[in-house]
């Protein structure tokens, strides 16, 4: 299986970006779990594509009585996460390298709760079904899965918009988009379907917003995030023949300037969908 993520997973800059983005995503989601969720029956938790392990370690620290496992395709991220867990003495957190596009290395009914955030960036459109079947298999009857995915950024900056056009187009070309419109990701309307088709029930959804406008709380963090993200995306744009290296570089510089302008406005919407495995 070819590695589908559009940024090299073993990249240290990408890891640093994810360390921050993890924390910000949790904050923008209003906490680690949906507020409606009863956690008393949740003992074993899996985080899929855990990256540098931020969510796993946060959960492990907040709930010392629960066992939390993180898996990721990246050696580097998993090593970092394991080290971080050691530093925080989070003995109930563990990490292992696993490719989620292949069968998951766990027995049936292993987890009470499965969490997967922002995995659409490397999930080929045709793989969702098989992936969720695997998730269902390792969920305990009565257990929960939660998916959280974003739609593309909406902003008033011409350069940021154009880079996001490139991203949406490149994802279309790479078979990772679920929208009939090549300017949209279109993944969030499908989350409910993915869960239902796999066999989960009592499905609920909730939206979140991450504002990155000038003057908003996350402006600087999102500026830094974009600075790394769009830099690392350049080879993907060039490889998919969406733009030339020169075009991308000019746009990148312009985007950095426009993001720092005092009238910059931008946000992105995320959707969480969660459902229960029948008992």
């Amino acid at each position: 299986m070819a590695e589908a993520y559009f940024i090299d997973a073993e990249n240290a800059a990408e890891m640093a970006r994810l360390v921050n983005q993890d924390r910000i995503t949790t904050r923008c989601m209003g906490g680690l779990f949906p507020p409606q969720l009863a956690l008393s029956n949740v003992h074993t938790i899996l985080d899929i594509a855990c990256g540098p392990g931020g969510w796993v370690i946060d959960v492990a620290q907040a709930y010392p009585d629960k066992q939390v496992t993180g898996i990721d395709v990246s050696q580097l991220m998993v090593a970092y996460a394991a080290e971080l867990a050691k530093i925080h003495e989070a003995r109930n957190a563990s990490f292992q390298v696993a490719n989620i596009l292949q069968p998951l290395p766990f027995p049936d009914h292993a987890f009470d709760l499965i969490n997967a955030r922002l995995i659409s960036s490397f999930m080929p459109q045709t793989m969702w079904r098989q992936f969720l079947q695997e998730c269902l298999r390792i969920t305990r009857p009565g257990g929960i899965i939660r998916l959280t995915e974003p739609e593309r950024t909406i902003s008033n900056s011409p350069a940021v918009e154009q880079l996001n056009d490139f991203l949406a187009r490149a994802m279309h070309k790479a078979g990772q988009s679920l929208s009939p419109n090549e300017l949209q990701f279109g993944v969030t309307p499908h989350l409910r379907r993915f869960l239902r088709d796999a066999g989960y029930q009592n499905i609920q959804v909730a939206s979140h917003v991450l504002e990155s406008s000038a003057g908003s709380e996350e402006h600087l963090s999102q500026y830094q995030n974009s600075m790394v993200f769009f830099k690392l995306l350049q080879p993907f744009f060039v490889r998919t023949a969406i733009a030339t290296q020169e075009e991308v570089e000019v746009l990148y510089q312009r985007a950095l300037e426009q993001m720092m302008a005092p009238d910059y406005c931008a946000l992105w919407y995320l959707l969480s969908a969660w459902g229960e495995k029948p008992r």
């Binding site: 909406i154 902003s155 008033n156 900056s157 959804v205 939206s207 003057g215 406005c265 919407y269």
Partner: protein, 286 residues
């Protein structure tokens, strides 16, 4: 002096005195309130809120709901439409809601209220008729009539996101037409781009402690609101056709065949669609 805005052209893309539009808004009002989780942001202390204004209240759903739920508060709804305000007034009268009042008023002109009149100013889905350039002036007017310590809340949406070719294409054409009409903020016109602006509108007018919250209306076939949103789309896509044709983004033939196809695709069990809304609210300095 702010730039003079040409108000000779009515800017709302659907005729405001249309009965089908009123019926649509009566339902859509209620659904939006439910999707927003209630009438006010949950964090808000309502004990110091006595006078409430709803801007572009349409048939008055939100204002009458507030009047019913809070008999001790006074609610005023304004709208440019005669038939909507008459309907709202009738509705309030039939329920004996003496604390709800409705007035015909053009939101794009200076608002006919004294300074510091309201503790809470509410405006939902007004970007359909507020030209891009008018927002700052409208927000200044809102600030003027808000009491020190009072709140203004704006709620707007982006175009919905679906897996239906025809729904997506119609939405994309609507976004383009609104872009050409100067009513949206996306630099390229692929989306409305209004929701990222709300925080800035409030801040530039002088509101502070700005907060925001996102809501989603799931219109998918299997979602609770599927039927209501099918009906909503059926009316709004129909009423929008003259606007789309007038702005030249589509031909009569194309829009009609897309409309038929959209209606079919929306009632397919495989139809998935979500619609994002953002509220932003801020406080006038004391």
């Amino acid at each position: 002096m702010p730039e003079e805005i040409d108000l000779s052209k009515t800017t709302y893309f659907i005729e405001a005195e249309n009965a089908a539009e009123m019926a649509r808004l009566i339902n859509q009002d209620r659904i939006l309130t439910r999707c927003m989780g209630g009438l006010f942001p949950p964090q808000l202390d309502l004990s110091s809120v006595h006078d409430i204004l709803d801007i572009a209240c349409g048939p008055g759903g939100w204002a009458t709901d507030v009047a019913r739920a809070y008999p001790d508060k006074r609610v005023t709804g304004i709208d440019i439409s005669q038939i909507m305000t008459e309907y709202a007034r009738f509705q309030a009268m039939s329920e004996d809601l003496h604390n709800a009042h409705f007035v015909v008023m053009d939101t794009l002109k200076p608002l006919n209220f004294p300074d510091n009149t309201f503790d809470f100013v509410n405006a939902r889905l007004i970007s359909g008729f507020v030209p891009k350039a008018v927002w700052p002036q409208l927000m200044k007017e809102c600030l003027r009539i808000t009491r020190p310590g009072g709140i203004a809340r704006l709620t707007e949406s982006e175009a919905n996101i679906s897996n239906s070719f025809a729904v997506d294409r119609l939405n994309e054409r609507i976004a383009k037409a609104m872009y050409l009409a100067g009513q949206t903020f996306s630099p390229s016109g692929w989306q409305f781009g209004t929701t990222p602006m709300l925080r800035r509108f409030l801040r530039e007018a002088g509101y502070q402690h700005i907060k925001s919250s996102a809501y989603v209306l799931d219109c998918s076939y299997e979602a609770d609101e599927h039927l209501s949103q099918y009906q909503n789309a059926m009316v709004s896509f129909k009423l929008l056709q003259p606007f789309l044709i007038k702005t030249g983004v589509i031909t009569q033939e194309e829009v009609e065949s897309l409309y038929q196809r959209a209606l079919e695709e929306m009632i397919s069990p495989d139809y998935y669609c979500v619609w994002y809304f953002l509220s932003a609210w801020g406080e006038k300095p004391r």
